[in-house]
Amino acid sequence: PHGSSGHPTLTPRTSSISPGILGGNRSCVFYETSHNLKGTMRHKGLLLGGTEHSTILCLYSRCCFGIWNQSSHAVMPGCWDSDKDDCEDPACKPSPIQAFGATILRCLCSSDFCNANISWFGTPAVPQGDGS
């Protein structure tokens, strides 16, 4: 299962939200695989259209997040709900987490669509295969 299929492009609650309360109009990549994910982060922003990867306008922050699994597949990029959780870096420089025998990469970042790609050590994003 891929993309935003099954999600409305605009969640129902958005009708009562004026543009002024958007957190500086940060745009992030949004994507949620339906398998092995419990819960959702889609209510942290306004989901705009898109098939494979959606765009989400953050409601509560100017902060995107990204999570990648061992094979560098994005798991659930989206809007984070706070600017206070170490979201200073404009680029997504992921820190690895070892959990249950797997390596997970994750980042918080503060520029538009910064969670689209992993930014290795601040250099432009490198194709994943080259590093190994």
């Binding site: 419990k38 070892q98 994750r106």
Partner: protein, 109 residues
Amino acid sequence: QNRSARPQAYCRLQELMVDLYYENFLIIPKRYAANNCEGPCKLPLSTRISNHSTHTVLLLGMQERGAPLQRSPCCVPVKYSSKDFILVTTEGFKVASFPDLVAEECGCR
């Protein structure tokens, strides 16, 4: 980062970042503003802190009259809020909200 070494005049909410790097199951965030309540509790409380209890006023009165207390009134959180986290479990990823993770209001107790 917003914290300074200057002593607080009265009990109030201060920013405090808590590291969660040692908790491997927590994916995002690894660090969050939990905040803390800091500063002395002194009479008169009512003009300084909205959230006070009569019990605390009596304890502070005892101290002012020289009676020793085993435990002096203390500046503590009296209201918390919850915080969302993204976790990894054996079954995959999970978005979960945990209660009482962020100090929101302080009082002398």
